[in-house]
């Protein structure tokens, strides 16, 4: 590598090792640049198409652009002057957000969660025979991709698991359960697999089941008693059968609301004073107390970079 005074106009980049090329590629601004670079030569191509740890690093540094929100009322694309507005319009044209590719009847499915390009929808399993009696605890769950018009109908939760669900509370419109997509687990090699967590808030405990698309099975996730959760956080548990229960448990509906996600954990607010935390890597629930400045008002849980979680509270 001695300095060559007779440098040609395009000296070969081959002097750089694959590790260095990887570092350079990580600094490319867009995935399109990476795709074009990968078509330049064999060594670039091998790096981009076969080095999974490189691809994971590239993806974690290049988050997909925000194109819009999808909820039970449909798709709400990003509008000008948002930089993603043209992409959002293209996505809206290309994808089927009416979900007409799902099993009929049309409009029977409700969007419950969206993550990583996948949409989780559910419906009354007896929709074709007049509908179930309320409460609707065990729904028919489907994970779909509106862009590719593909879907996977999840099997029902097995009876032995379902038997442990005792009088759950209503959590959303006419739903007494909360199914959601777990984030993609970084260490996993297979990008096409996903996990669904099914959760219900029962009188004395929280119940969570986990569906893994690579095994096609539902398994028990966690079912901590609410008393244990509060004890574990050093908080006094509510009296079990008091006529004047603590404010937390006098609430007639759900206790844990507004699910949010950051850095491998889901968070639910508890009357804006505490947070229920689900660490998806350990499938473990816990209770956290946010800093006093975050109490009372609306907050957002954010990824603060370098694996740290932050709370954003407008002051």
């Amino acid at each position: 590598m001695a300095g060559d005074e007779m440098a040609s106009p395009s000296p070969p980049v081959a002097a750089l090792t694959n590790d260095l090329i990887a570092e350079i590629f990580l600094r490319l601004p867009t995935p399109e640049d990476l795709v074009r670079a990968s078509a330049a030569c064999v060594s670039f191509r091998r790096l981009v198409t076969t080095d999974r740890s490189f691809l994971r690093r590239f993806r974690s540094l290049h988050a997909p652009p925000f194109v819009g929100f999808l909820d039970h009322r449909g798709f709400h694309p990003a509008l000008p002057p948002h930089p993603s507005a043209p992409a959002a319009r293209a996505v809206a044209d290309a994808a089927d957000f009416a979900l007409s590719f799902l099993p009929s009847p049309a409009g029977s499915w409700m969007v419950r969660d969206v993550r990583g390009g996948r949409v989780l929808v559910d419906r009354d399993p007896k929709v074709e025979t007049g509908g179930s009696e309320k409460p609707l605890v065990f729904t028919e769950i489907d994970v779909c991709d509106p862009l590719r018009r593909r879907f996977l109908l999840l099997p029902p939760i097995p009876n032995d698991l379902a038997a442990s669900v005792d009088r759950p509370v209503r959590v959303h419109l006419d739903r007494w359960c909360e199914p959601f997509l777990a984030s993609h687990i970084e260490e996993e090699e297979d990008d096409t697999s996903f996990k669904v967590i099914w959760m219900a808030q029962c009188k004395a405990k929280i119940i969570a089941f986990v569906f893994n698309s690579s095994t096609g099975q539902w398994l028990t996730g966690a079912s901590p008693s609410t008393t244990d959760l509060f004890n574990g956080a050093g908080l006094s548990p509510p009296p079990p059968s008091s006529s004047s229960p603590s404010p937390v448990f006098s609430s007639p509906g759900r206790v844990f609301s507004s699910r949010r996600y950051a850095c491998g954990c889901f968070y639910w607010g508890i009357l804006r004073t505490m947070l229920l935390v689900l660490d998806t890597r350990l499938m473990k629930f816990s209770i956290a107390e946010p800093p006093p400045v975050c109490l009372g008002g609306p907050t957002a849980i954010v990824e603060a970079g370098e694996g740290m979680t932050g709370i954003f509270a407008p002051g």
Partner: protein
Amino acid sequence: MATGSGAAAAAADAEEKESGSRMITLTSNEGKAFVVTEASARQSATIRSMVDDGGCVDKGFPLPNVDSKTLARVIQYCDEHGNKEAHTVDERAALAKFDKDFIAELDADKAFLYDVTMAANYLHIQGLFALTTQCIADTIKGKTPEEIRTAFGIEYDLTAQDEEEIKEEDTHA
């Protein structure tokens, strides 16, 4: 920087101050010696850890992977970042201007840019490594595969199967 408290922090500060005034000799693979301040040498995490591990500061550090021309340029960067303060807005702006001019000059000589990149990697000089790798990435940005080959002096070596796969990917995109 030091997060310790009281006497320990004060001692560490004093030591840093004292060590900052020491001079360190770096020797290129051609045997040419470069004398630099410790503050400048500490821009390199590799040298920093050797100094902190009680390496023989007096004898200097031979750098068998770096030639004289490259080392001189690397030291130019380290001097600027190690010997100058970057506390005020003006000081930081001056440093940013230095980086801009420094990399613009390197970018004009790609073979030399690669040499400096490899030296920055070998010596673990984070700021310099970020600067040079970003500069090379900017060269790739927005270019077609053919333009990238030209810019980097790469031979076309894709197999028929590669071409087939690339075509396949294009139709999916």
